[in-house]
């Protein structure tokens, strides 16, 4: 398949990448840009561990073609901390013990950030629904929800 040059904007940095049209955003982030925070858990949009933010909204990067992401702001977990300071959602996840094996953590944190920016003071039920597209097999979600609620109102 013929490759083409595309331009991506990730975490505020600009990249020129040569991709095949069928390459997913997840593949390009992980393999070309070496941003491996987004994970491939299932490759079919079910588990949510590949979640990144596109224009501030969570998307499954395994179901998003890299060419579709041109001209949009892409945000990955690597871009959350700034000037050596963790994002409040990252801090809350660490302090509340919301991280066990960590495989779903980047997706959970990004989903939480996008959700709380849109809904700064959610109910617990709303918080649970917001992360219901990301599978965690370790935590039972309890401490993730606690971390979300602790960050509410802080963003």
């Amino acid at each position: 398949m013929e490759k083409r040059l595309i331009h991506l904007s990730v975490n505020g940095d600009e990249y020129d990448v040569v991709v095949r049209p069928n390459q997913t955003l997840l593949e390009v982030l992980r393999e070309d840009l070496e941003l491996t925070g987004a994970k491939e858990g299932c490759g079919e949009g079910a588990c949510g561990t590949c979640t990144v933010l596109l224009e501030g909204k969570p998307v499954r990067s395994c179901l998003t073609l890299a060419v579709e992401a041109q001209g949009k702001q892409i945000e990955t977990v690597e871009g959350l901390a700034s000037d050596g300071e963790l994002h409040p959602v990252q801090k809350a996840f660490i302090e509340h013990g919301a991280i066990q094996c960590g495989f779903c953590t980047p997706a959970m944190i990004l989903t939480t950030k996008a959700f709380l920016e849109e809904n700064p003071n959610p109910s617990e039920g709303e918080a649970r629904r917001a992360i219901s597209g990301v599978v965690c097999r370790c935590t039972g979600y309890a401490k993730i929800v606690a971390a979300m609620m602790a960050t509410a109102g802080e963003l």
Binding site: K39, G41, I94, Q100, C101, G102, R128, I131, C138, G140
Partner: protein, 758 residues
């Protein structure tokens, strides 16, 4: 415990910063220069003889650097035990399940590797296959392995006391059959492996694993390489739950290809391959006969279980025994007969799972409630009457040195409002209880212990070198917390080197619930050893006795006169100048009967100690749809002592998801013969955030005399007792017993309809 600055406190885990920022590396995240990409050709047949494999076209494809088949393995077979060596990890003569590894390719990129797989020609002679254990045991069934008549892989017989006499003396006897279907670990991280080799014959392996030493030993045997040359490196593991323990074909195949191509090879499984071709959990058919006195005291148990083991042994002897052992680790069983059969079928391989034996333990815990009701005894009282206590000896001979089971039962009942709710909730709502005991470690020979070392930098910082393995539950952080506490340092002043088969000492791994008891004991001993050395040096410098000194915040100080102190770095430097550098050294081997063997000698001390737990689940059952929703869970776990209460709670909450909502209500595989129909996360349903109940975790601390600071284990609580609690709660809600796991809406509806017909 008042003195402790870290141990017993809620502290953030040391690994969470890397994980929260995307810096933590998992196997699939790694790349090496000149790395090749591997792909495996899998069997499309459940049972077939391989007549010929022609890989010549694949070998000639541009970009292909290595092709391996069973011919490259010299027929070497793997088994966890000497008597279970039944699996060629790259099969040679026969395939025994759909998805079995037949050949593999390493190429410059993944697309080329996939194209090459299409070019490998395999001639199969399809054989009759068998997909259920009862059918497989019948005369005339297709024989899957030449050595196993009637396809019986493992038979564990255990008999204690006089079972017939026990039944004769019983006031009430009940018999029930419970069954379940296959389910799976479904760790969020799919299986992956990366192998690097150099021209001196060193192999480096990265793969999600619960025991680098176990993997390294197996690979060294299979590849006939010295253990010193096989180096399994530390890497983050995205969950294990029992499913990353023994060796898998992937590691072996990637190693063969790396050696053949003399280049690094990465093999990353798809989610489908992770479902079909690594490990699953056993399905079971469980027959239970229980006899009790009028007051509910257990007098006799007869238990027969037939497990579908799939095509190979894996951890078969352990898997066949564990559910029974969990039962004898919970209650006093004076007369008991157990016959466990693990049977070969033409299905994927089954291993030990965190929620292993839901039909077995769910069945026993539900039958206990049935008997309690027939005798008019409250289920909590029924459990309290039979619960093991400190000083008791279990049926097969293990002494209980600490036991908080009764306290756990009482606390779970009290905090859940049991008395006000049981039998008193409106139709559709119910409450139920479950309980379990759990071995903390088990006999694993030289691999059953752990050792650790601590060295110091001249600035006062320390490095702990421990074989401890962390698959996500927080073991790394736990040993650092302990070492820092003992040495009076901050956690950030203690580096950890762990889980590397070359660099770190032998350890049993994140397996058998032993890390908090065994690995942490070794780390604690190393820290105490280093502390004594530091205090000895400092006692000269401060002109005080060792007993008068303490360590805190990086300083050695006199307990009575804290203003008299020296910086620890000073003592460390003096030790270096004196040619007596401070090197802490510690080890721990649990006090178990090393002659105990799963099949040939299942008696004697099974584990160093045992943990205990009780749970109360509240459910809402929709009688129109059959849907069960777990609304509240109150669980009390005797973990001995909570080194980090936040981490202990995390384990309890996680096991409500895996054992409760997942294993009890949702998770199962569907089949067409040997073809798995839902090898996908769209079709294999796991609990999501919205499915979870409110959870109230209660930590019970029995202060184990052997455990580090009294600790035992925290992971195997709800994952082993939630089945009982939910099954019993459903009965309390709508008056039907569902004896088939998972308890899906169709089964609830069918049971309600049957009851209404009667």
């Amino acid at each position: 415990m008042a003195e402790h600055t870290l141990v017993g406190h809620r502290v953030p885990r040391i690994d969470s910063l890397d994980k929260a920022t995307g810096q933590a590396r998992y196997t699939a995240d790694l790349t090496l220069p000149r790395m090749l990409y591997g792909k495996v050709l899998r069997s499309p047949h459940a049972h077939a003889r391989i007549l010929n494999i022609d890989a010549s076209k694949a070998e000639r494809l541009r970009g292909v650097k290595a092709v391996v088949t069973g011919r490259d393995t010299a027929g070497v077979r793997w088994g966890v035990f000497r008597y279970t060596r039944d699996q060629q990890l790259l099969t040679g003569d026969k395939v025994r399940y759909i998805g079995e590894d037949v050949a593999a390719v390493a190429a410059e990129d993944e697309e080329t590797a996939m194209e090459a797989l299409e070019l490998i020609e395999v001639d199969y002679e399809v054989l009759p296959a068998v997909f259920g254990p009862l059918e497989a045991m019948q005369e005339g069934a297709p024989q899957i392995h030449d050595h196993a008549e009637n396809n019986i892989n493992i038979h564990v017989p255990i008999e204690v006391g006089d079972v017939e006499k026990g039944f004769k003396k019983s006031y009430h006897v009940r018999e029930d059959r419970f069954v379940d279907s296959e389910y799976t670990y479904c760790q969020t991280e799919p299986y992956a492996v990366l192998v690097n080799c150099d021209l001196s014959g060193n192999l480096e392996i990265w793969t999600p694993n619960a025991s680098p030493h176990t993997k390294a030993k197996a690979l060294s045997n299979l590849l006939e390489m010295p253990l010193t040359k096989v180096k399994v490196r530390r890497i983050c593991t995205g969950g294990a739950f029992g499913g990353r323990s023994d060796i898998f074909p992937g590691e072996f195949i990637a190693a063969l290809m790396a050696l053949k191509a003399a280049r690094p090879v990465k093999l990353v499984y798809t989610r489908e391959e992770s479902f079909t071709s690594v490990r699953q959990a056993h399905s079971m058919i469980v027959d239970l006969k229980t006899g009790v006195r009028k007051d509910g005291t257990l007098l006799a148990n007869e238990i027969k279980v037939i497990m579908d083991g799939g095509a190979y042994s894996s951890t078969g002897p352990i898997a066949t025994s564990v559910p029974f052992l969990v039962w004898e680790e919970t209650y006093r069983l004076p007369n008991v007969r157990f016959n466990g059969y693990r049977v070969y079928t033409n299905k994927p391989v089954r291993g030990m799972y965190r929620c292993h034996g839901r039909a077995f333990l769910g069945g026993l815990g539900m039958q206990l409630d049935m008997i309690a009701e027939e005798l008019g005894i409250d289920p909590v009282e029924m459990r309290l009457r039979n619960a093991l206590r400190t000083g008791d000896t279990q049926a097969t001979g293990s002494k209980i040195i600490s036991c908080g089971l009764s306290e756990a039962l009482q606390q779970a009942a009290e905090k859940s409002g049991w008395k006000e709710k049981r039998g008193k909730l409106p139709f559709g709502k119910g409450i139920g209880m479950g309980a379990n005991g759990m071995m903390v470690g088990f006999p694993m020979g030289i691999r059953g212990g752990s050792s650790a070392m601590i060295k110091f930098n001249e600035d006062g910082g320390a490095t702990l070198i421990s074989g401890v393995v962390d698959t996500g539950s927080g073991n790394d952080s736990m040993v650092v917390q302990i070492a820092a506490d003992v040495l009076g340092l901050k956690m950030e002043d203690v580096n950890l080197v762990s889980a590397d088969s070359e660099i770190t000492p032998l350890d049993q791994g994140a397996y058998s619930q032993a890390a908090a008891f065994v690995s942490a004991n070794a780390a604690m001993a190393a820290a105490i050893d280093a502390r004594e050395q530091i205090l000895n040096i400092a006692s000269d410098m401060l002109d005080a006795t060792v007993e008068e000194l303490g360590l805190r915040d990086g300083y050695v100080y006199m307990k009575e006169r804290p203003e008299r102190n020296i910086w620890m770095g000073k003592a460390i430097r003096k030790a270096l100048m004196d040619d007596t550098p401070i090197m802490g050294r510690g080890s721990y081997m649990p006090k178990i009967d090393q002659t105990r063997e799963w099949v040939s000698n299942p008696k004697g001390q099974q584990a160093g100690t045992f943990s205990f737990g009780a749970v109360v689940a509240e459910v809402e059952v929709d009688a129109e749809t059959g849907q069960v929703r777990v609304s509240n869970v109150t669980g009390a776990h005797d973990c001995g002592f909570a080194i980090n209460p936040m981490a202990v709670e995390g384990q309890l909450e996680g096991s409500v998801a895996s054992g409760g909502v997942g294993a009890t209500l949702l998770e199962e595989h569907y089949w067409d013969g040997g073809q798995m129909l839902n090898a996908s996360m769209l079709e294999y349903k796991v609990p999501l955030s919205v499915d979870m109940p409110q959870i109230t975790p209660i930590i019970v601390e029995s202060m184990d005399p052997e455990g580090p600071f009294g600790a035992k284990e925290a992971g195997l609580w709800g994952s082993m007792n939630m089945f009982q609690a939910i099954g019993n709660a459903i009965y309390d809600a709508v008056g039907v017993w569902i004896k088939d796991f998972p308890i899906t809406p169709d089964k609830v509806l069918a049971a309600l309809e049957e009851r209404n017909r009667d």
